[in-house]
Symmetry: C2
Subunit: 453 residues, 2 copies
């Protein structure tokens, strides 16, 4: 990317920095392990799709505090009694810890660490806000988009979903990240040009109603468009009247790629328009549908055989409208001081946190199909055939993992999804995919709990 | 801000650029006026709060296409037949139009243009995606946050709301923008340090549960914190047990600023903790409450006299959880070609768009209280005492408006809110604030409709 990096060190909750100063000035030299995980499935979801790791790694690689930022912090009232040494420390700060993570495009479930960080406690703490905001958002959008793509049955026919939501995303950056996350989860591309350029995602889009309205007639607008884009013209035919629009498209008397319908009863209109096109030797012209779509509407259209080739989906996908936040948290699970390990847990019923550095063991059958997951300690021995989900991404501050390109991530996701059984992917009342804790981790948790009481 | 600007020209839906190329290669030299407005109030809202104009102006000021971006576009398949002249045009592109807008922190309503752009049609079209994504998002968050601040009755007591939602915002940039928008709408500050530095917003935050868990005991953790932050210590007392936590705070035997409760029954706990503090000569220590709060929970706490001094509100405010997108649209209302004006309208019942360049006339009484709004044409003469909401921001590409600083915007909002009558601000079943269309605009609309039929 040609753009200069904006320094993101201050995208952090103040308390991460006050804690950092507190650890520093108390000379608390301990290594801490934090894990990021999601407690519960969002409404309507039966699985989660990992996304956002690439941006987290970029952030960690470049994380540093500039002089101007340090001067700002130094002048904040709470930092009045903080030592100069702390600010000197910040000036030379870099992330030197270890990071393990589930690669992007993987299917995972609540309780499973998406990311595990082991580092001097200040380093592990300071990154919390950014890491959560990035992983929560992209994972939320990918998990929603997977449902939209599934509803469109992108695997059965040459049908696709285009992400069209930039104008309703939560700001310009969110629009780019949402395009990325939805592509990972099976969308065919996006309308967002920045996302296209930055992540090599196919970009789509032709014209809006304002194009048609800027000309004296619909036919004049269609002709003018086709003149400039003879091979890629998708005519938006619903500015005035869909049927008339379809007929005006025929008046072009030239091959065009297709038409788009953006309003009204998409099932009825798509059938009418398909017939008009077919009856007039435009069998190859595709029909694109858009307008307030989500997975439920798309499912109904597909099940009723609406002759729609691709869906443009915006607002409801990029804001994950039925579940517009993902509650990922970042919890302390272990500290190490003078080579002595202390496990950390929380015991309250709803908010239990299991102790220790974890790995997710996915038990598979001989064909690689997913049978169940076991959340265990990293040192657990799992006798059944399995794969481990978390891989090492950063070792003592050095990147040891090369992120695949986005197309590969998307392909990986599509392969993973095939291995999850259909009952767990059902739209309504899906079966719960079995996720268990290993004996060792249960035992450790119970021991710590006993000691607590 | 010390950071280099990231060029944002490509944060645009592809179709804005194909239309631009289409207008260019068809030599369609017309001036177009687009207006951005919201059709309907989001769920649970009775008014909207304008926010995001500052970022839109910054974007327009700096909008240009870099060589690398132009090369990317040129290679996209749809642009195959587009003339070289168009790319030369893009290379020297700058925004030279006029912009009128409702200033930030104003109360406004559906149908009222928040922004009006008049420019050569390509310029007016290309900016649509960015403008919508920015204004939709910040206005959505400000409109939600206004309710949260209102529920906390920030005007009656020394009570405040702190924005704590960065980790659940839709990515890092959204976290900064959400902090800004919620401050405009009455929050006292944010945990987001970048927002604090960039916009001069007060920043808040002390410590997380992980701080307490990193020490061998809660008292050790409290002492260590107080050592470094003697004047600003807010002790998080619910890591293990709230009552014990409050008692451990007393064991400090030193003045501290307050305590924070982040879980459980905040009404009951705040009362218990207040009593413990009061009984032990800590009458000045404040109580901060947080944990999954929104305006409804805060309203219930305040109405039940929970002794809470400030609320930390996150997820539900920064994602506007009950209405997580704002459907602002950007519509063509007028074009001018060879000094001839054509008005543009849409006539469908649900999606009517009124024609012409508009102004919002707010009719006020002698004390400045808001009586009703009239959406009229710019040339309308309104006999009643009124103020006009849209002001000129950019004139032929030159900035002619200086945005107030954020504190002033926030103060303006608080003053505006006082002028809206209580019935329209009620939480449940609010009265609808009257918004009418002027006779002239109705007449124009009806004439155009007749001509259409």
């Amino acid at each position: 990317m040609q753009n200069p990096r904006v320094n993101q060190a201050l995208i952090v909750d103040l308390y991460e920095l006050t804690m950092a100063a507190g650890y520093f000035d108390n000379s608390l030299n301990i290594d801490a392990t934090f894990e990021m995980f999601i407690r519960d499935l969002p409404l309507n979801r039966s699985f989660l799709v990992s996304a956002g790791l690439y941006q987290v790694v970029e952030y960690l690689k470049h994380l540093k505090f500039e002089d101007e930022e340090i001067e700002y912090l130094r002048k904040l009232p709470p930092f009045k009694h903080v030592s100069n040494d702390f600010f000197d420390y910040l000036r030379q700060f870099e992330f030197r810890g270890d990071v393990w993570a589930i690669p992007e495009g993987q299917i995972f479930f609540p309780g499973e660490p998406l990311l595990r960080v082991t580092a001097p406690i200040i380093e592990a703490q300071i990154i919390e806000t950014y890491v959560l905001s990035m992983l929560n958002f992209q994972t939320m959008v990918a998990s929603k988009s997977a449902r939209v793509a599934q509803a469109a049955r992108i695997d059965e026919k040459d049908r696709g979903v285009m992400e069209f939501g930039s104008r309703r995303a939560h700001g310009p950056e969110a629009s780019v990240l949402a395009a990325r996350a939805s592509y990972i989860a099976g969308c065919m591309g996006t309308s967002n040009v920045m996302a296209g350029k930055k992540f090599d995602i196919p970009v789509y889009g032709t014209a809006a109603h304002s194009w048609t309205m800027a000309f004296d007639s619909e036919t004049a607008a269609f002709e003018a468009y086709h003149r400039v884009f003879p091979e890629s013209t998708i005519l938006l035919i619903d500015t005035y009247d869909v049927k008339e629009g379809a007929k005006n498209a025929l008046k072009l008397n030239k091959k065009f790629q297709g038409v788009r319908i953006d309003s009204g009863d998409l099932l009825e209109y798509s059938k009418i328009v398909r017939k008009i096109l077919d009856d007039n030797d435009y069998k190859d012209a595709i029909i694109v549908a858009s307008g307030d779509l989500d997975e439920f509407k798309i499912k109904a259209l597909v099940e009723n055989n609406a002759p729609i080739n691709s869906f443009g989906v915006g607002t409801k996908m990029v804001t994950s409208e039925d579940a517009p936040s993902l509650g990922g948290i970042y919890k302390l699970v272990e500290i190490e001081r003078d080579d002595k390990i202390q496990y950390k847990s929380k015991f309250s019923d709803e908010k239990a946190t299991y102790p220790g550095k974890k790995q997710v063991y996915r038990i598979v059958d001989d064909n690689g199909n997913y049978l169940k997951d076991v959340i265990g300690l990293v040192k657990d021995q799992i006798p059944e055939k399995h794969k481990t989900l978390l891989i090492k991404v950063i070792n003592k501050g050095k990147l040891v993992y090369e992120s695949p390109n986005l197309k590969t991530i998307r392909n990986n996701f599509i392969e993973h999804l095939k291995k999850l059984n259909d009952a767990c992917k059902r739209f309504e009342n899906p079966e719960t995919y079995p996720v268990l804790y290993s004996k060792n981790i249960q035992q450790l948790f119970n021991e710590l709990k006993k000691r607590e009481i």
